[in-house]
């Protein structure tokens, strides 16, 4: 960068001692109040339960007592939580490769020298990122509704059977589609930007060696994109495990989504519909731990393969 010519004295960090801590105070205070404290409180609550004495009426009839690992045993043995976890696992296994695969394809095409309408396509594909999950789910929900859907209108006019996207098994794909629609553009932009950071000479020399566009994409561009692909995968993983808004919104249009369709929906129901904050807390802690284990595990796994020599 353009540094003025005032060299000669490098007294690094000669600021008054307390200054960095004062500057960091807002972040540390907010981080403590809204991250550390809630985490601690959730862990605390997960070890508690309510003891009801007598009929449970009147003051003092309900007291909070230590529950040990009871809530965890209940959560881990709960078929509803297990069912929702497996559903979200399957959802992630379909969604993440599909979404990142499409994002990668679009990014490579945008970077390819012979493709037209790139600017228009880039903006159009990025645009859904500006649409909140609730709104996106509403728009797609109406497009799925047989009475409103243009797809059903066309199929009906052609005399073909009309599928109902909101019934039984299809609703799973309906929700995957909303997530792909909302997420593909953002990931495409991240990947495209890292492609642009690569000096063009590499491709030119590869072309001189007789490599085709496809070979360049597979042999040079994708390996160079590995760090960005890993990062987008981790962020997608974290988002996937917390899926809540889309199924909740679609739920108002169909009855094929249960109130415990995803783990977070179950936490919400336990805490607010059933007033059982203790098992909700235990389930939250389990979800958070699984997220951490999966994202750290994935990072460790790939860092050994992708960054072999580099120290990261």
């Amino acid at each position: 960068m353009n540094a003025p010519a005032t060299t000669g004295r490098t007294r690094k960090g000669t600021a008054p001692r307390g200054v960095p801590y004062v500057f960091l105070a807002p972040a540390i205070i907010l981080f403590t109040l809204f991250l550390l404290l809630p985490i601690g409180y959730a862990i605390y609550l997960s070890f508690r339960r309510v003891k009801v004495s007598g009929l449970g009426l009147g003051k003092g009839a309900r007291t909070e007592i230590w529950a040990g690992l009871d809530n965890y045993a209940t959560a881990l043995g709960d078929p509803e939580l297990l069912g929702s976890a497996l559903r979200v696992l399957l959802y992630g296994l379909v969604l993440i490769p599909l979404m990142l695969g499409l994002a990668l394809l679009f990014a490579l095409l945008l970077d390819a020298p012979r493709v037209r309408f790139g600017r228009f396509a880039k903006l159009a594909i990025f645009l859904p990122y500006a649409v909140p999950g609730v709104i996106a789910s509403m728009l797609w929900g109406f497009l799925y509704l047989p009475a409103v859907s243009p797809f059903n209108y066309v199929l009906d006019a052609a005399g073909l059977p009309e599928p109902n996207m909101l019934s039984g098994g299809s609703v799973f794909l309906a929700i995957v589609n909303i997530a792909v629609w909302g997420g593909v553009g953002f990931n495409m932009i991240v990947l495209f930007t890292s492609l642009r950071a690569v000096p063009g000479e590499i491709y030119e020399s590869a072309q001189l060696d007789g490599a085709s566009d496809l070979q360049i994409a597979l042999r040079i561009k994708i390996p160079l994109l590995m760090p960005s692909l890993i990062m987008t995968t981790v962020f997608s993983l974290i988002a996937t495990l917390q899926v809540f808004t889309e199924p909740l919104t679609i739920r108002s249009l169909t009855n094929s989504i249960s109130s415990t369709w995803t783990p977070l929906m179950k936490v919400y129901r336990d805490a607010f519909s059933q007033n059982d904050i203790y098992s909700a807390a235990a389930s939250s802690v389990v979800i958070a731990l699984v997220t951490l284990v999966l994202s750290f595990g994935f990072l460790r796994l790939v860092s050994r393969q992708a960054f072999g020599g580099e120290n990261r």
């Binding site: 003025p4 490098t10 985490i39 390819a112 859904p128 999950g133 728009l139 409103v148 930007t193 108002s252």
Partner: protein, 293 residues
């Protein structure tokens, strides 16, 4: 990278090979673009239809009920829709700005000062990126309920000011954009530390902080669970929670569907405009890790 630099020979490539358009690639991109624009095109068409046309005419055929729908939306609940939009602007705008500011000063401090506990603080903050933010919403609610802050603007605003990811981005950006020599020079001239940050470093960090602001703005605008849990009175709802409650009532009163549709359209227009105008300010190279620190 060394291997790549060695091959730095710029010999012009056969001109014809570069300029023959690839129709397959173009077609794939256009299909992607149509897929992404389809629901937006639909909502524009559907917003112009009155309640009965919605279920009877072809979905992309425009109707004549736009003004009527707009009137109904404004009349619903005494114009509460406009309150929801204003609330969203407050939550996302003020929250995003405060978040960028806190991220900015924290990132600058972590990049430019050497002090005890620096890497420990950074690592703890960074670990916050991996903490599933939404699972925090329930304990955050319980804590804020204890101090009587639920169902206030603060309950939605305060938890979203702290952004571990924003601090991380600001630190990368400060390291790259604010030269040590400039900070040293200002210090030699006798400027106070806060003055150095506010007058010297902050202006240099503006492009990076615009990115942090936009990220947090979109994140808050998108965050449904937190306001959904925290708020109970509908005059404090952001537009997403408001429309969600309308949609839920719609399953018994289908006439409300028209309001949900035009409400959705009006709520995404400002964000799309913001996107198209600010897209050149997005430092996406920050997130893809391409900034050399």
């Amino acid at each position: 990278m060394t291997l790549l630099q060695e091959r730095k020979t710029t010999i012009p490539v056969r001109p014809g090979a570069r300029h023959r358009p690839s129709w397959l690639g173009t077609a794939i991109l256009l299909v992607g673009a149509i897929y992404c624009l389809l629901p937006i095109a639909w909502v524009v068409a559907a917003a112009t239809k009155n309640g009965s046309d919605l279920f009877t005419t072809f979905t992309f055929a425009p109707g004549t009920g736009f003004a009527e729908n707009l009137g109904d939306l404004s009349a619903n609940g005494g114009g509460i829709y406009w309150q929801w939009l204003a609330n969203t602007a407050i939550y996302a705008g003020v929250g995003g700005a405060l978040s960028a500011l806190v991220s900015g000063i924290s990132g600058y401090t972590l990049a430019k000062y050497r002090f005890a506990g620096r890497s420990a603080i950074f690592n703890v903050l960074l670990a916050g990126v991996l903490v599933p933010g939404i699972t925090l919403a329930v304990p955050q609610y319980l804590l804020l309920a204890k101090v009587g802050l639920t169902d206030t603007y603060w309950s939605v605003l305060l938890p979203q000011i702290i952004s571990p990811y924003g601090i991380y981005l600001a630190r990368i950006y400060a390291a790259a954009a604010v030269p040590d020599t400039v900070v040293e020079a200002a210090r030699t001239d006798g400027a106070g530390e806060f003055r150095i940050f506010a007058r010297v470093a902050l202006p240099m960090m503006v492009p990076g902080l615009v990115t942090v602001f936009l990220f947090q703005f979109v994140a808050i605008w998108n965050n449904f669970l937190l306001p959904f849990i925290m708020l109970s009175s509908d005059d404090k709802f952001p537009v997403t929670v408001g429309l969600f409650t309308l949609l839920n009532q719609g399953s018994t009163v289908p006439a409300l569907y028209s309001l949900v549709i035009i409400g959705s359209l009006l709520s995404i227009i400002p964000l799309i405009v913001l996107f198209l105008t600010l897209q050149r300010h997005w430092r996406t190279d920050l997130i893809s890790g391409a900034v050399k620190g």
